[in-house]
Protein backbone atom coordinates (compact mmCIF):
# COMPACT_ATOMS: atom_id res chain seq x y z
CA UNK A 1 0.00 0.00 0.00
CA UNK A 2 1.11 3.45 -0.88
CA UNK A 3 -0.08 5.30 2.19
CA UNK A 4 3.25 5.06 4.01
CA UNK A 5 4.50 8.44 2.86
CA UNK A 6 1.36 10.13 4.21
CA UNK A 7 2.11 8.99 7.71
CA UNK A 8 5.85 9.13 7.66
CA UNK A 9 6.37 12.59 9.21
CA UNK A 10 3.66 12.84 11.81
CA UNK A 11 3.66 9.17 12.56
CA UNK A 12 7.27 9.23 13.75
CA UNK A 13 6.71 12.27 15.89
CA UNK A 14 3.65 10.62 17.43
CA UNK A 15 5.60 7.48 18.15
CA UNK A 16 8.25 9.51 19.96
CA UNK A 17 5.63 11.29 22.05
CA UNK A 18 3.87 8.04 22.78
CA UNK A 19 7.08 6.34 23.85
CA UNK A 20 7.83 9.20 26.24
CA UNK A 21 4.32 8.94 27.64
CA UNK A 22 4.68 5.18 28.12
CA UNK A 23 8.02 5.67 29.84
CA UNK A 24 6.42 8.24 32.15
CA UNK A 25 3.61 5.81 32.93
CA UNK A 26 6.02 2.99 33.70
CA UNK A 27 7.82 5.13 36.20
CA UNK A 28 4.69 6.45 37.88
CA UNK A 29 3.03 3.03 37.92
CA UNK A 30 6.12 1.62 39.54
CA UNK A 31 6.07 4.40 42.07
CA UNK A 32 2.41 3.81 42.71
CA UNK A 33 2.98 0.11 43.28
CA UNK A 34 5.69 0.92 45.80
CA UNK A 35 3.38 3.27 47.63
CA UNK A 36 0.75 0.55 47.64
CA UNK A 37 2.98 -2.07 49.15
CA UNK A 38 4.20 0.26 51.86
CA UNK A 39 0.62 1.26 52.55
CA UNK A 40 -0.42 -2.36 52.82
CA UNK A 41 2.40 -3.08 55.13
CA UNK A 42 1.20 -0.33 57.43
CA UNK A 43 -2.39 -1.50 57.50
CA UNK A 44 -1.42 -5.10 58.05
CA UNK A 45 -3.70 -7.66 56.40
CA UNK A 46 -4.96 -4.78 54.23
CA UNK A 47 -8.25 -6.44 53.34
CA UNK A 48 -10.20 -3.20 52.96
CA UNK A 49 -7.65 -1.31 50.81
CA UNK A 50 -7.17 -4.40 48.67
CA UNK A 51 -10.89 -4.60 47.91
CA UNK A 52 -11.17 -0.93 47.01
CA UNK A 53 -8.28 -1.00 44.58
CA UNK A 54 -9.35 -0.74 40.95
CA UNK A 55 -8.46 -3.95 39.12
CA UNK A 56 -7.56 -2.79 35.64
CA UNK A 57 -6.86 -6.26 34.22
CA UNK A 58 -10.12 -7.75 35.40
CA UNK A 59 -12.03 -4.74 34.13
CA UNK A 60 -10.47 -4.83 30.67
CA UNK A 61 -10.90 -8.59 30.31
CA UNK A 62 -14.52 -8.31 31.37
CA UNK A 63 -15.08 -5.68 28.70
CA UNK A 64 -13.52 -7.59 25.84
CA UNK A 65 -15.17 -10.88 26.78
CA UNK A 66 -18.55 -12.00 25.53
CA UNK A 67 -21.55 -11.26 27.72
CA UNK A 68 -25.13 -12.38 28.24
CA UNK A 69 -26.31 -8.82 28.74
CA UNK A 70 -25.76 -5.66 26.78
CA UNK A 71 -24.73 -2.60 28.71
CA UNK A 72 -26.67 0.52 27.70
CA UNK A 73 -25.73 3.31 30.10
CA UNK A 74 -25.03 3.56 33.82
CA UNK A 75 -26.61 0.54 35.52
CA UNK A 76 -28.98 -0.19 32.65
CA UNK A 77 -28.41 -3.49 30.89
CA UNK A 78 -30.45 -5.28 28.29
CA UNK A 79 -30.81 -8.91 29.33
CA UNK A 80 -30.25 -11.15 26.32
CA UNK A 81 -32.03 -14.46 25.80
CA UNK A 82 -30.25 -17.55 27.06
CA UNK A 83 -30.71 -20.71 25.04
CA UNK A 84 -29.23 -23.87 26.55
CA UNK A 85 -29.09 -27.42 25.38
CA UNK A 86 -28.99 -29.26 28.67
CA UNK A 87 -29.44 -33.01 29.08
CA UNK A 88 -31.07 -33.30 25.63
CA UNK A 89 -33.52 -30.57 26.40
CA UNK A 90 -33.68 -27.02 25.09
CA UNK A 91 -33.97 -24.59 27.97
CA UNK A 92 -34.59 -20.90 27.40
CA UNK A 93 -34.85 -17.99 29.78
CA UNK A 94 -33.59 -14.44 30.00
CA UNK A 95 -30.38 -13.18 31.52
CA UNK A 96 -32.44 -10.84 33.71
CA UNK A 97 -33.46 -13.95 35.70
CA UNK A 98 -29.95 -13.93 37.17
CA UNK A 99 -30.58 -10.42 38.58
CA UNK A 100 -27.15 -9.16 37.42
CA UNK A 101 -25.43 -11.91 39.34
CA UNK A 102 -22.21 -13.03 37.73
CA UNK A 103 -20.75 -14.92 40.62
CA UNK A 104 -22.86 -18.10 40.74
CA UNK A 105 -24.87 -16.81 43.69
CA UNK A 106 -28.31 -16.77 42.04
CA UNK A 107 -29.77 -20.06 40.84
CA UNK A 108 -32.27 -20.08 37.99
CA UNK A 109 -34.49 -23.13 37.99
CA UNK A 110 -36.07 -23.94 34.68
CA UNK A 111 -37.71 -27.14 33.42
CA UNK A 112 -36.42 -28.97 36.46
CA UNK A 113 -32.79 -27.96 35.87
CA UNK A 114 -30.79 -25.48 37.90
CA UNK A 115 -28.27 -23.05 36.42
CA UNK A 116 -25.90 -20.43 37.73
CA UNK A 117 -23.84 -17.84 35.88
CA UNK A 118 -20.23 -17.25 36.80
CA UNK A 119 -17.95 -14.94 34.82
CA UNK A 120 -20.48 -14.86 31.96
CA UNK A 121 -20.54 -18.65 31.73
CA UNK A 122 -23.54 -20.82 32.52
CA UNK A 123 -22.97 -23.84 34.78
CA UNK A 124 -25.21 -26.52 36.21
CA UNK A 125 -25.74 -25.36 39.78
CA UNK A 126 -24.43 -27.40 42.70
CA UNK A 127 -26.96 -28.71 45.18
CA UNK A 128 -25.70 -26.48 47.97
CA UNK A 129 -23.80 -23.21 48.21
CA UNK A 130 -20.14 -23.11 49.23
CA UNK A 131 -18.77 -20.88 52.00
CA UNK A 132 -18.97 -17.76 49.73
CA UNK A 133 -22.63 -18.43 48.88
CA UNK A 134 -21.75 -19.65 45.40
CA UNK A 135 -23.59 -22.65 43.96
CA UNK A 136 -20.45 -24.03 42.31
CA UNK A 137 -17.49 -26.10 43.34
CA UNK A 138 -14.26 -24.20 42.94
CA UNK A 139 -10.80 -25.54 42.31
CA UNK A 140 -7.69 -24.04 43.92
CA UNK A 141 -7.52 -21.34 41.20
CA UNK A 142 -11.12 -20.28 41.93
CA UNK A 143 -12.41 -21.74 38.67
CA UNK A 144 -15.75 -23.52 38.66
CA UNK A 145 -15.51 -27.28 38.32
CA UNK A 146 -19.20 -27.76 37.51
CA UNK A 147 -20.39 -29.19 34.21
CA UNK A 148 -21.66 -26.78 31.55
CA UNK A 149 -24.69 -27.12 29.32
CA UNK A 150 -24.23 -26.39 25.59
CA UNK A 151 -24.73 -22.65 25.40
CA UNK A 152 -26.43 -21.35 22.24
CA UNK A 153 -27.48 -18.08 23.83
CA UNK A 154 -27.87 -14.91 21.84
CA UNK A 155 -24.94 -13.28 23.57
CA UNK A 156 -23.66 -9.76 22.94
CA UNK A 157 -21.29 -11.08 20.27
CA UNK A 158 -23.98 -13.18 18.61
CA UNK A 159 -26.31 -10.19 18.47
CA UNK A 160 -23.54 -8.04 17.02
CA UNK A 161 -22.82 -10.78 14.51
CA UNK A 162 -26.45 -10.88 13.40
CA UNK A 163 -26.62 -7.10 13.33
CA UNK A 164 -23.49 -6.87 11.20
CA UNK A 165 -24.81 -9.53 8.82
CA UNK A 166 -28.04 -7.56 8.42
CA UNK A 167 -26.19 -4.27 7.88
CA UNK A 168 -23.79 -5.84 5.36
CA UNK A 169 -26.72 -7.37 3.51
CA UNK A 170 -28.61 -4.07 3.42
CA UNK A 171 -25.56 -2.11 2.33
CA UNK A 172 -24.35 -4.43 -0.40
CA UNK A 173 -27.74 -5.39 -1.75
CA UNK A 174 -28.52 -1.69 -2.16
CA UNK A 175 -25.15 -1.17 -3.80
CA UNK A 176 -25.84 -4.08 -6.16
CA UNK A 177 -29.23 -2.56 -6.86
CA UNK A 178 -27.73 0.78 -7.80
CA UNK A 179 -25.41 -1.06 -10.20
CA UNK A 180 -28.50 -2.52 -11.80
CA UNK A 181 -30.27 0.85 -11.92
CA UNK A 182 -27.33 2.88 -13.18
CA UNK A 183 -26.08 0.32 -15.64
CA UNK A 184 -22.94 1.44 -17.47
CA UNK A 185 -22.95 4.81 -15.71
CA UNK A 186 -20.47 6.20 -13.22
CA UNK A 187 -21.04 5.18 -9.58
CA UNK A 188 -22.98 7.42 -7.22
CA UNK A 189 -23.51 7.70 -3.45
CA UNK A 190 -22.83 4.56 -1.41
CA UNK A 191 -21.85 2.82 -4.62
CA UNK A 192 -19.06 5.28 -5.35
CA UNK A 193 -17.90 5.01 -1.75
CA UNK A 194 -17.61 1.22 -1.82
CA UNK A 195 -16.55 0.62 -5.39
CA UNK A 196 -12.92 1.67 -4.79
CA UNK A 197 -12.78 -0.76 -1.86
CA UNK A 198 -14.22 -3.58 -3.96
CA UNK A 199 -11.71 -2.72 -6.70
CA UNK A 200 -8.95 -2.60 -4.08
CA UNK A 201 -9.82 -6.15 -2.99
CA UNK A 202 -9.95 -7.29 -6.59
CA UNK A 203 -6.90 -5.50 -8.00
CA UNK A 204 -4.54 -5.38 -5.01
CA UNK A 205 -5.50 -8.50 -3.07
CA UNK A 206 -7.02 -11.10 -5.38
CA UNK A 207 -5.33 -10.49 -8.73
CA UNK A 208 -1.67 -10.39 -7.59
CA UNK A 209 -2.07 -13.60 -5.56
CA UNK A 210 -4.53 -15.60 -7.59
CA UNK A 211 -3.92 -14.41 -11.15
CA UNK A 212 -6.57 -15.30 -13.66
CA UNK A 213 -8.25 -17.64 -11.18
CA UNK A 214 -9.20 -14.76 -8.90
CA UNK A 215 -12.81 -14.60 -10.03
CA UNK A 216 -13.67 -17.90 -8.39
CA UNK A 217 -12.50 -16.72 -4.96
CA UNK A 218 -13.67 -13.12 -5.15
CA UNK A 219 -16.96 -13.77 -3.29
CA UNK A 220 -15.16 -15.29 -0.30
CA UNK A 221 -12.44 -12.63 -0.22
CA UNK A 222 -14.91 -9.76 -0.52
CA UNK A 223 -17.22 -11.21 2.13
CA UNK A 224 -14.42 -11.89 4.58
CA UNK A 225 -12.84 -8.48 3.98
CA UNK A 226 -16.01 -6.49 4.51
CA UNK A 227 -17.13 -8.70 7.41
CA UNK A 228 -13.86 -8.17 9.29
CA UNK A 229 -13.56 -4.50 8.41
CA UNK A 230 -17.12 -3.67 9.36
CA UNK A 231 -17.00 -5.60 12.63
CA UNK A 232 -13.60 -4.15 13.52
CA UNK A 233 -15.08 -0.69 13.22
CA UNK A 234 -18.29 -1.65 14.98
CA UNK A 235 -16.16 -2.92 17.85
CA UNK A 236 -14.59 0.53 18.19
CA UNK A 237 -17.98 2.15 18.80
CA UNK A 238 -18.15 2.26 22.60
CA UNK A 239 -21.94 2.40 22.99
CA UNK A 240 -24.91 0.25 22.17
CA UNK A 241 -24.84 -0.91 18.54
CA UNK A 242 -21.11 -1.48 18.99
CA UNK A 243 -19.18 -2.31 22.10
CA UNK A 244 -18.84 -5.98 21.36
CA UNK A 245 -15.44 -7.42 20.58
CA UNK A 246 -16.57 -9.73 17.80
CA UNK A 247 -13.46 -9.89 15.60
CA UNK A 248 -11.35 -10.04 18.76
CA UNK A 249 -13.14 -13.22 19.76
CA UNK A 250 -11.24 -16.41 19.14
CA UNK A 251 -14.37 -18.32 18.09
CA UNK A 252 -15.07 -15.87 15.27
CA UNK A 253 -11.48 -15.72 14.00
CA UNK A 254 -11.28 -19.50 14.27
CA UNK A 255 -14.29 -19.93 12.01
CA UNK A 256 -12.92 -17.44 9.48
CA UNK A 257 -9.47 -19.05 9.47
CA UNK A 258 -11.10 -22.47 9.12
CA UNK A 259 -12.91 -21.25 6.01
CA UNK A 260 -9.60 -20.18 4.46
CA UNK A 261 -8.10 -23.51 5.51
CA UNK A 262 -10.94 -25.50 3.93
CA UNK A 263 -10.86 -23.49 0.71
CA UNK A 264 -7.08 -24.01 0.53
CA UNK A 265 -7.31 -27.74 1.16
CA UNK A 266 -10.19 -28.38 -1.23
CA UNK A 267 -8.71 -26.32 -4.04
CA UNK A 268 -5.13 -27.53 -3.71
CA UNK A 269 -3.87 -28.99 -6.98
CA UNK A 270 -1.40 -31.82 -7.37
CA UNK A 271 1.59 -29.45 -7.45
CA UNK A 272 0.55 -28.05 -4.08
CA UNK A 273 0.23 -31.48 -2.49
CA UNK A 274 3.36 -32.56 -4.31
CA UNK A 275 5.29 -29.75 -2.66
CA UNK A 276 3.98 -30.80 0.72
CA UNK A 277 4.46 -34.56 0.62
CA UNK A 278 7.34 -34.99 -1.81
CA UNK A 279 9.21 -31.72 -2.27
CA UNK A 280 10.65 -31.71 -5.80
CA UNK A 281 14.25 -30.74 -6.45
CA UNK A 282 15.76 -31.90 -3.13
CA UNK A 283 17.45 -35.17 -2.19
CA UNK A 284 15.29 -38.00 -0.83
CA UNK A 285 16.35 -37.69 2.86
CA UNK A 286 15.47 -34.00 2.62
CA UNK A 287 12.09 -34.89 1.11
CA UNK A 288 11.35 -37.11 4.09
CA UNK A 289 12.56 -34.47 6.50
CA UNK A 290 10.47 -31.73 4.87
CA UNK A 291 7.25 -33.73 4.74
CA UNK A 292 6.22 -33.32 8.40
CA UNK A 293 7.32 -29.68 8.37
CA UNK A 294 5.19 -28.89 5.36
CA UNK A 295 2.33 -30.87 6.84
CA UNK A 296 2.48 -28.78 10.00
CA UNK A 297 2.68 -25.70 7.77
CA UNK A 298 -0.79 -26.41 6.39
CA UNK A 299 -2.18 -25.94 9.88
CA UNK A 300 0.07 -23.19 11.19
CA UNK A 301 -0.96 -20.82 8.41
CA UNK A 302 -4.66 -20.67 9.32
CA UNK A 303 -3.80 -20.78 13.03
CA UNK A 304 -1.58 -17.73 12.51
CA UNK A 305 -4.48 -16.05 10.72
CA UNK A 306 -6.77 -16.85 13.64
CA UNK A 307 -4.36 -15.62 16.33
CA UNK A 308 -3.31 -12.51 14.40
CA UNK A 309 -6.78 -11.07 13.99
CA UNK A 310 -7.84 -12.06 17.50
CA UNK A 311 -4.72 -10.67 19.14
CA UNK A 312 -4.60 -7.41 17.19
CA UNK A 313 -8.19 -6.47 17.83
CA UNK A 314 -8.18 -7.62 21.44
CA UNK A 315 -4.92 -5.80 22.09
CA UNK A 316 -6.34 -2.61 20.62
CA UNK A 317 -9.40 -2.82 22.85
CA UNK A 318 -7.28 -3.53 25.91
CA UNK A 319 -5.00 -0.59 25.10
CA UNK A 320 -7.88 1.87 24.79
CA UNK A 321 -9.50 0.50 27.94
CA UNK A 322 -6.21 0.65 29.83
CA UNK A 323 -5.65 4.29 28.90
CA UNK A 324 -9.17 5.19 30.01
CA UNK A 325 -8.76 3.14 33.18
CA UNK A 326 -5.66 5.11 34.16
CA UNK A 327 -8.04 7.80 35.43
CA UNK A 328 -9.52 5.32 37.89
CA UNK A 329 -6.20 3.71 38.74
CA UNK A 330 -4.69 7.05 39.77
CA UNK A 331 -8.07 8.23 41.01
CA UNK A 332 -7.30 11.73 39.79
CA UNK A 333 -8.92 14.05 37.28
CA UNK A 334 -5.52 15.30 36.19
CA UNK A 335 -4.76 12.03 34.46
CA UNK A 336 -7.62 12.70 32.04
CA UNK A 337 -5.55 15.43 30.41
CA UNK A 338 -3.07 12.82 29.26
CA UNK A 339 -5.09 9.64 29.02
CA UNK A 340 -7.99 10.99 26.94
CA UNK A 341 -5.79 12.39 24.14
CA UNK A 342 -3.80 9.18 24.09
CA UNK A 343 -6.93 7.06 24.09
CA UNK A 344 -8.09 9.13 21.13
CA UNK A 345 -4.74 8.69 19.44
CA UNK A 346 -4.90 4.92 19.94
CA UNK A 347 -8.51 5.05 18.78
CA UNK A 348 -7.38 6.68 15.55
CA UNK A 349 -4.68 4.05 15.14
CA UNK A 350 -7.29 1.38 15.82
CA UNK A 351 -9.40 2.79 13.00
CA UNK A 352 -6.42 2.22 10.74
CA UNK A 353 -5.77 -1.18 12.29
CA UNK A 354 -9.43 -2.08 11.63
CA UNK A 355 -8.75 -1.67 7.92
CA UNK A 356 -5.24 -3.08 7.94
CA UNK A 357 -6.22 -6.25 9.79
CA UNK A 358 -9.10 -6.85 7.39
CA UNK A 359 -6.63 -6.28 4.56
CA UNK A 360 -4.02 -8.60 6.06
CA UNK A 361 -6.48 -11.39 6.76
CA UNK A 362 -7.83 -11.15 3.23
CA UNK A 363 -4.48 -10.85 1.47
CA UNK A 364 -3.01 -13.78 3.45
CA UNK A 365 -6.10 -15.86 2.67
CA UNK A 366 -5.63 -14.96 -0.99
CA UNK A 367 -1.94 -15.82 -0.72
CA UNK A 368 -2.61 -19.23 0.84
CA UNK A 369 -5.31 -20.03 -1.69
CA UNK A 370 -3.03 -18.75 -4.44
CA UNK A 371 -0.26 -21.11 -3.30
CA UNK A 372 -2.71 -24.00 -3.45
CA UNK A 373 -4.07 -23.27 -6.92
CA UNK A 374 -0.87 -21.97 -8.51
CA UNK A 375 0.09 -23.70 -11.73
CA UNK A 376 3.72 -24.69 -12.20
CA UNK A 377 5.25 -24.74 -15.60
Amino acid sequence: MDCSHVFEFKFRRLIVVFTLFSAFLMVSLGANAQVDTTHKAEVGPGETTEKKKFEIGKFALHHIADSHSWHVIGDTHIGLPIILFANNKVVTFNDNDFHHDNDAKVVVEKDGQRFVKMHEKIYFASAAANEHGQYVDLDEKHHAKNARPLDFSLTKNTCTLLLSVVVLLVVFLSVANSYKKRKGKSPKGLQSWLEPVILFVRDDIAKPNLGHKHERFMPYLLTVFFFIWFNNMLGLVPFLPGGANLTGNIAVTMVLATMTFLITVFNGNKHYWGHIFWMPGVPVPMKIFLMPLELIGIFTKPIALMIRLFANITAGHILVLALICLIFVFNSYWVTAASIPFAMFIGAIELMVAFIQAFIFTILSALFIGMAVEEHH
Binding site: L61, I64, A65, D66, I83, H119, K121, L150, D151, F152, S153, T155, N157, T158, L161, L162, V165, L168, L169, F172, L173, V175, A176, Y179, K180, K183, G184, E195, I198, L199, R202, E215, M218, P219, Y220, L222, T223, F227, N249, I250, A251, V252, M254, V255, L256, M259, T314
Partner: protein, 164 residues
Protein backbone atom coordinates in the same frame (compact mmCIF):
# COMPACT_ATOMS: atom_id res chain seq x y z
CA UNK B 1 -7.36 -18.57 29.86
CA UNK B 2 -10.99 -18.00 28.96
CA UNK B 3 -10.15 -15.64 26.10
CA UNK B 4 -8.40 -18.39 24.16
CA UNK B 5 -11.16 -20.97 24.44
CA UNK B 6 -13.78 -20.60 21.69
CA UNK B 7 -17.39 -20.85 22.86
CA UNK B 8 -19.37 -23.51 21.01
CA UNK B 9 -22.42 -21.30 20.60
CA UNK B 10 -20.54 -18.48 18.90
CA UNK B 11 -18.67 -20.90 16.63
CA UNK B 12 -21.97 -22.35 15.43
CA UNK B 13 -23.64 -18.96 15.00
CA UNK B 14 -20.60 -17.49 13.26
CA UNK B 15 -20.39 -20.42 10.83
CA UNK B 16 -24.06 -20.27 9.95
CA UNK B 17 -24.23 -16.47 9.75
CA UNK B 18 -21.05 -16.13 7.71
CA UNK B 19 -21.98 -18.86 5.23
CA UNK B 20 -25.43 -17.36 4.86
CA UNK B 21 -23.97 -13.90 4.37
CA UNK B 22 -21.49 -15.18 1.82
CA UNK B 23 -24.14 -17.13 -0.05
CA UNK B 24 -26.63 -14.26 -0.26
CA UNK B 25 -24.00 -11.64 -1.07
CA UNK B 26 -22.40 -13.84 -3.73
CA UNK B 27 -25.71 -14.40 -5.45
CA UNK B 28 -27.22 -10.95 -5.13
CA UNK B 29 -24.28 -8.57 -4.67
CA UNK B 30 -20.79 -9.74 -5.64
CA UNK B 31 -21.62 -11.41 -8.93
CA UNK B 32 -23.79 -8.60 -10.36
CA UNK B 33 -21.48 -5.92 -8.98
CA UNK B 34 -18.29 -7.49 -10.35
CA UNK B 35 -20.01 -8.20 -13.65
CA UNK B 36 -21.20 -4.59 -13.87
CA UNK B 37 -17.72 -3.26 -13.03
CA UNK B 38 -16.16 -5.54 -15.62
CA UNK B 39 -18.70 -4.54 -18.22
CA UNK B 40 -18.09 -0.87 -17.55
CA UNK B 41 -14.33 -1.34 -17.71
CA UNK B 42 -14.72 -3.18 -21.00
CA UNK B 43 -16.89 -0.42 -22.40
CA UNK B 44 -14.37 2.20 -21.31
CA UNK B 45 -11.55 0.20 -22.93
CA UNK B 46 -13.65 -0.15 -26.06
CA UNK B 47 -14.35 3.56 -26.19
CA UNK B 48 -10.68 4.37 -25.74
CA UNK B 49 -9.69 1.92 -28.45
CA UNK B 50 -12.28 3.39 -30.78
CA UNK B 51 -11.05 6.90 -30.07
CA UNK B 52 -7.51 5.76 -30.86
CA UNK B 53 -8.68 4.20 -34.11
CA UNK B 54 -10.59 7.36 -35.03
CA UNK B 55 -7.49 9.40 -34.34
CA UNK B 56 -5.42 7.15 -36.59
CA UNK B 57 -8.10 7.35 -39.29
CA UNK B 58 -8.09 11.13 -39.00
CA UNK B 59 -4.32 11.22 -39.36
CA UNK B 60 -4.54 8.93 -42.35
CA UNK B 61 -7.20 11.10 -43.99
CA UNK B 62 -5.22 14.26 -43.32
CA UNK B 63 -2.09 12.82 -44.89
CA UNK B 64 -4.16 11.60 -47.82
CA UNK B 65 -5.63 15.05 -48.28
CA UNK B 66 -2.21 16.59 -48.21
CA UNK B 67 -1.02 14.12 -50.82
CA UNK B 68 -3.96 15.01 -53.03
CA UNK B 69 -3.30 18.73 -52.59
CA UNK B 70 0.31 18.23 -53.48
CA UNK B 71 -0.65 16.29 -56.59
CA UNK B 72 -3.18 18.91 -57.63
CA UNK B 73 -0.66 21.66 -57.14
CA UNK B 74 1.90 19.81 -59.28
CA UNK B 75 -0.72 19.23 -61.95
CA UNK B 76 -1.65 22.90 -61.94
CA UNK B 77 2.00 23.89 -62.28
CA UNK B 78 2.36 21.46 -65.16
CA UNK B 79 -0.67 22.88 -66.94
CA UNK B 80 0.51 26.44 -66.42
CA UNK B 81 3.92 25.57 -67.77
CA UNK B 82 2.42 23.94 -70.85
CA UNK B 83 0.13 26.91 -71.42
CA UNK B 84 3.07 29.27 -71.20
CA UNK B 85 5.03 27.28 -73.76
CA UNK B 86 1.98 27.19 -76.02
CA UNK B 87 1.46 30.90 -75.63
CA UNK B 88 5.09 31.61 -76.40
CA UNK B 89 5.01 29.46 -79.52
CA UNK B 90 1.79 31.09 -80.71
CA UNK B 91 3.19 34.54 -80.16
CA UNK B 92 6.41 33.65 -81.97
CA UNK B 93 4.52 32.12 -84.86
CA UNK B 94 2.33 35.15 -85.12
CA UNK B 95 5.33 37.40 -84.98
CA UNK B 96 7.18 35.55 -87.79
CA UNK B 97 4.09 35.25 -89.95
CA UNK B 98 3.39 38.97 -89.48
CA UNK B 99 6.97 39.78 -90.37
CA UNK B 100 6.90 37.68 -93.56
CA UNK B 101 3.49 39.06 -94.45
CA UNK B 102 4.80 42.62 -93.94
CA UNK B 103 7.89 41.92 -95.95
CA UNK B 104 5.72 40.50 -98.72
CA UNK B 105 3.48 43.54 -98.69
CA UNK B 106 6.46 45.89 -98.71
CA UNK B 107 7.93 43.97 -101.63
CA UNK B 108 4.65 44.16 -103.50
CA UNK B 109 4.40 47.87 -102.77
CA UNK B 110 7.95 48.39 -103.97
CA UNK B 111 7.31 46.52 -107.22
CA UNK B 112 4.08 48.48 -107.70
CA UNK B 113 5.92 51.73 -107.03
CA UNK B 114 8.62 50.66 -109.47
CA UNK B 115 6.01 49.81 -112.10
CA UNK B 116 4.16 53.04 -111.52
CA UNK B 117 7.44 54.92 -111.74
CA UNK B 118 8.30 53.19 -115.03
CA UNK B 119 4.85 53.90 -116.43
CA UNK B 120 5.07 57.48 -115.29
CA UNK B 121 8.51 57.84 -116.84
CA UNK B 122 7.30 56.26 -120.07
CA UNK B 123 4.31 58.58 -120.16
CA UNK B 124 6.56 61.50 -119.34
CA UNK B 125 8.89 60.52 -122.17
CA UNK B 126 5.99 60.32 -124.60
CA UNK B 127 4.67 63.68 -123.53
CA UNK B 128 8.12 65.23 -123.62
CA UNK B 129 8.67 63.87 -127.13
CA UNK B 130 5.24 65.07 -128.20
CA UNK B 131 5.90 68.44 -126.65
CA UNK B 132 9.29 68.55 -128.23
CA UNK B 133 7.82 67.64 -131.60
CA UNK B 134 5.22 70.30 -131.12
CA UNK B 135 7.79 72.89 -130.13
CA UNK B 136 10.07 71.83 -132.92
CA UNK B 137 7.25 71.94 -135.42
CA UNK B 138 6.34 75.44 -134.29
CA UNK B 139 9.96 76.55 -134.27
CA UNK B 140 10.61 75.00 -137.62
CA UNK B 141 7.46 76.41 -139.14
CA UNK B 142 8.34 79.85 -138.03
CA UNK B 143 12.09 79.84 -138.57
CA UNK B 144 12.98 77.28 -141.17
CA UNK B 145 11.96 77.40 -144.74
CA UNK B 146 14.95 75.70 -146.18
CA UNK B 147 14.19 72.09 -146.53
CA UNK B 148 17.75 70.91 -146.17
CA UNK B 149 18.40 72.87 -143.09
CA UNK B 150 15.26 71.54 -141.68
CA UNK B 151 16.25 68.01 -142.22
CA UNK B 152 19.69 68.53 -140.58
CA UNK B 153 18.17 70.16 -137.61
CA UNK B 154 15.70 67.42 -137.09
CA UNK B 155 18.36 64.85 -137.45
CA UNK B 156 20.62 66.59 -134.97
CA UNK B 157 17.76 67.07 -132.56
CA UNK B 158 16.79 63.45 -132.68
CA UNK B 159 20.38 62.53 -132.11
CA UNK B 160 20.54 64.66 -129.02
CA UNK B 161 17.32 63.13 -127.68
CA UNK B 162 18.69 59.68 -128.07
CA UNK B 163 21.86 60.66 -126.20
CA UNK B 164 19.92 61.88 -123.27
Amino acid sequence: MDLLIPEVGLVVFQTIAFLLLMFVLTKFAWKPVLAAIKERENSIDDALNKAELAKQEMARLTSQNEELMKQARAERDEILKEAKILKDSIVNEAKTSAQTEGAKLIEKARIEIENQKKAALAELKGQVSALSLDIAERVLRSQLDDKAKQQDLVASLLKNVELN
